[in-house]
Point group: C2
Chain length 329, copies 2
Amino acid sequence: MKTRITELLGIRYPIIQGGMQWVGKPELASAVSNAGGLGIITALTYPTGEALAAAIERMRSLTDKPFAVNLTILPAAKPPPYADYVDTIIASGVKIVETAGNNPREYVERFKAAGINILHKCTSLRHAMSAERAGVDVVSIDGFECAGHPGEDDVPGLVLIPMAAKALRIPIVASGGIADGYGMAAALALGADGINMGTRFEATQEAPIHQNIKDALVAATERDTRLMFRTLRNTARVLKNAISEEVVALERRPGGCVYEDLRPLVAGVRGRAALESGDVDGGVVSAGLCVGLIDDIPTCDELIKRMVRECKAHLDRANGFFTAEECRS
Amino acid sequence: MKTRITELLGIRYPIIQGGMQWVGKPELASAVSNAGGLGIITALTYPTGEALAAAIERMRSLTDKPFAVNLTILPAAKPPPYADYVDTIIASGVKIVETAGNNPREYVERFKAAGINILHKCTSLRHAMSAERAGVDVVSIDGFECAGHPGEDDVPGLVLIPMAAKALRIPIVASGGIADGYGMAAALALGADGINMGTRFEATQEAPIHQNIKDALVAATERDTRLMFRTLRNTARVLKNAISEEVVALERRPGGCVYEDLRPLVAGVRGRAALESGDVDGGVVSAGLCVGLIDDIPTCDELIKRMVRECKAHLDRANGFFTAEECRS
């Protein structure tokens, strides 16, 4: 395929694996890159710049295709070593970075000086426009459907993607709610030049997470995600499980709830335990609404090939609705 | 255009005007039908079966094209004369009915015996499957983006439309979040055979509502709708205004809120006053998230022609991303 995204990033298909803490490791990211998409290593998975450098080195041993490093900046009492991550990314000669979580302004100059293409992921039109002004190369626009942090505006892709396509000059990537050729076709029809998928890539053979979690994603329906931490205005879309149900119940109880009520739970919600142990109730598992569309656990190569084929078929079907006269005009 | 919807309903374009109380009158519905879409008269706009019969007669004086009557069944302390509406629809020789708000089971047999095609609008996959089993001809699947009653599941079209397309054998119409050729192209790519639009048709020259309301829809952004009556599990998506802000504030106040708290407001929220007087704060105005995509007030004919043209252009652009080899395989 040939879009502004494939051209800019040097990839075969405009399909990007979303940044995912504990999941975006070389095993998965290299499988995506080798299949013609863009694999992404997530910096936050690694405690230090050195550990990230080792992951980048391992990535290079697994693929000679383009890949990216995700740098998500979130508020934290004990911030991760962001400056070390940035130094490592530049020193390692990484060519593509995905920023998220905060305005990328302070990093743009250094990354651009190093010849790095910057994809910035955000969940609102105003943040997308501000990122474009800051000088990023691509905006990944993340709708209400998405796993992780959808923001507080609750605007789904069907509205958000065309708004971004009309407002921005740089190419956009559609993120959230996409898991198959239907969503890919829709995203391109809505004005995107590519798509981003997180949850769908979690349910692949190569995802470095416990089989129980992959099975839980397959079993989940479109009604099995929860929005937690709404009361903190730090909403996260996660899989329904014992922990997320407890958080949501607390947040909805009559009388309201404040951060102090949630604090004991916040400490327990980190997703790594569930992903590694396979105990679905052992931690919070990010999952987007597209779990309702996920029915199997293919390899990344099978998934990407199938999506591209189905995307073309769905677009062909839609095009076939027009009469010969309408096609000429 | 030619889809299962245009063939079944005998219309030129698979574009349906959503049922809207106080708005779905012959002035608007005939303009939509004359432009090649399907105009819909909303039964609830009329106090009696006789008044509905007069509207149907007026509709026939304004168009010789197919049109439908919407029959929305909502819980009410003083229910409207539903049985009279049904008798009138059948006696008037109406050929298409849109049901909504409740399982259409009890009406299917009579409508089908009268040769009437039934479109059933619902907001979840399980209700769509139940409507198909009940014998309706088309399901209009209404995503989280929609104006009016989105249900309580909060699943947007990007996920809900392909789920319905995969699960149902009968044709589906995509509803919610669509206001332009982008959304139309996406809906068709997601597996729908047609689209339904309410809010977009409110902002047309022929919509029989006050100019101030049309101007307010044009001015509104994607962040200017509110979900009210969540606490009653009877959620309505409406335009942000003095009343909806008051309701939402009451529903979110610490200590919670019960129906008795909302009762004084419920009486005041009826939308007719605002639509007719042009006082945007004079009542509640249903509005979908697609207000963010609405920038003008065209005629229905201009709108439909433009959407069809843009839909084709967006599909062509997406198709152009595939290489010659990918197109052959």
